[in-house]
Subunit: 276 residues, 3 copies
């Protein structure tokens, strides 16, 4: 499938850890509209925890693939701004990504069908790059130009070996899958790295995945399978497990924060014993 | 008045307690634009306190009726997601509401002129519902289809007896109105359930409502009527009262949070003695 | 240069300290779209610290000038709502500003090329002003009318002597510039009032400004010049200085909050000794 910018019209999304109160996000929007007046700008989030590249990568992975074919997704969570790290344009089967080469874009790139990465070498003409704010002075004008139809090659050459986000794979051994908590959502639910493909190659889609096997926290506490959290309404202290809308094993407690109630942290071990 | 989707073009608003950092709101926007590319999506809020149905209902009541005729308002604050609770389309004289049957939509529905409620029985074709995320896999595609002109009946049949938000009515007796604090705004101002119609049937509009009678907190502290909070600038520890832009009796302290300064809580009693 | 509303189409931005959960921002958007259905509304921020006029002014100053020629920028951070303070329309060479006369608009007005200020005397017809919410009942309908092409004079007459934001100028004396911290950004970086024009009239653009001279905190701690913060990655406890994208001297510590690490406050003295 070829990348077709015309399909989406001119949809551009924004994801950052800037917050909005500083006015930097507003400045980026103004810059985008000044260069591409017909851009349809959509905020994904500006509330990523400051410098939390991994959180931003997950946010982008969830949201970007849902947008129409051909959208441009601009993302900036960039603790290394101004250092040697490259800026990237990543082309996928479905969309373009623009942002720093620090792993932020890679989860979404996989979901979209990675094709190639371009290291940004040149700023668009008439733009002066500021070393403290690539979001405004480099990525936004590049994204606007892409939206207007400029080819990615316009801004640099292909690059191999982009920075990958550390992605812990579950261990599988003798009917056991040992995974871990990747992150928590706003409700304190724990999202793990265990997906149906770690169970059995014959259940590729999470909606068909069996809710069976014994799930345990590192503490040894057993978790109850449920098809939705409402099933736990009468069991207020029971931890429930389900396959969430991303296809990951997710753990929760009804009407409360599992993270707080069990003092869990990112990296917490979660075990799924298929024969349990 | 007939519901006329054509009047608004294709305005769709979003209200939720998802926050934005998880990417779920972005995913919903992507889904909406994929199905209805010309949708004009406007965020009302994604910062509703998690699971605070009542807060979301008030937010929606304030915002939705201001939008043009025919807009579709999608709202998800849904502690019971996945349980037996129905999903609703509510048709009013002025707009459509889509969301869970838990009271979230009812205040806005009253303001818009309630006509009927449809319990959502069918997902739009080609959509697979995930039990953990109705916002993305049920409500968003239904809202997109409504925006494209599908009739509400397309998705289910009429339902009676939808869940109402508990709505405390003030007590009125012998020239006294005893109400309570419904919620606080971001500034710590207290919004009560007392409106001009609790005073006198002849003052239906709050802008004509008299600023008279003695207002008291539960502690017995007297409150001073003012036509705007600026009148209290020289009285830094005085609690002021006015009829706010929603037509509710609102209490505040100048330049500070009344909630914090008086340690008030939702449900706090407020008395208005008309003869005081 | 003449003000040309036609250039921008109908771009309107919103900046406030309302947060979104109360629904007031949603109500303003609804009002704007009801009056000006083709308005392209863009959020700058609704997360300004409540009543922080100066923070809002900086946010607006950063963002507004980046938007296309002719945009209307509506801003409300208004501790004095309902008091005698006037509402303003400010016309600049590049854009229009609408909001309270309390200094909120003045930094952006300077950046846009101030032309004149109009004190709003009349509400648009058919609008009833509520004393507790000028954002919705005065500024939004005025902004919508301006977007539709109404002349600012339609709403009032010219006014001299609008309220200026207190703007501390650095002291310059014998090769020393003594400035102060104006505000912190979300990352805890400190932005000062020292700009290249305080150094030397021959370096008007901050990108040409020399990174030389000795920079010191009030504590006497020396600050290291860097062209980007990444240079400090190997010096985790060193405070760095650079000219930021706004052209102000900015101080930071790599990967952490300088404010927290050095317990700095707004107003903290910063000294730049040109001969140091």
């Amino acid at each position: 499938m070829k990348y077709k910018p015309e399909v989406a019209g001119a949809i551009l999304t924004l994801t950052s850890d800037f917050g909005t109160a500083g006015g930097y996000v507003g400045a980026m929007k103004g810059c985008l509209l000044s260069l591409a007046p017909h851009a349809a700008i959509h905020d994904i989030s500006h509330d990523i925890t400051p410098h939390a590249v991994s959180e931003g990568a997950w946010c982008l992975r969830r949201a970007a693939p849902r947008f129409p074919q051909g959208a441009v997704h601009l993302a900036v969570v960039d603790p290394g701004v101004g250092s040697g790290r490259a800026g990237l344009i990543i082309e996928t089967e479905r969309f373009l990504l623009v942002g720093p080469d620090n792993g932020l874009l890679t989860l979404a790139a996989q979901k979209g069908g990675f094709k190639r990465a371009i290291a940004i070498a040149d700023s668009p003409p008439d733009w002066t790059r500021s070393t403290s704010f690539d979001g405004l002075t480099l990525f936004a004008p590049v994204a606007a130009r892409l939206l207007l139809g400029d080819a990615p090659e316009r801004f640099g050459g292909p690059v191999e070996g982009i920075v990958e986000l550390p992605w812990p794979e579950p261990l599988r051994e003798a009917g056991q899958v040992e995974g871990e908590v990747l992150l928590f959502d706003r409700f304190g639910n724990a999202i793990t790295n265990i997906t149906p493909r770690h169970l059995d190659a014959s259940t590729p889609r999470h909606l068909d995945a069996p809710m069976s096997g014994r799930v345990q926290l590192a503490s040894g506490e057993s978790v109850r399978w449920c098809s939705h959290y409402g099933e736990l309404a009468q069991a207020p202290d029971v931890v429930g497990a389900l396959w969430n809308s991303d296809g990951h094993l997710e753990l929760a407690i009804f009407g409360d924060s599992l993270r707080d109630r069990r003092a869990l942290v990112v990296g917490e071990r979660v075990r799924l014993d298929l024969n349990g």
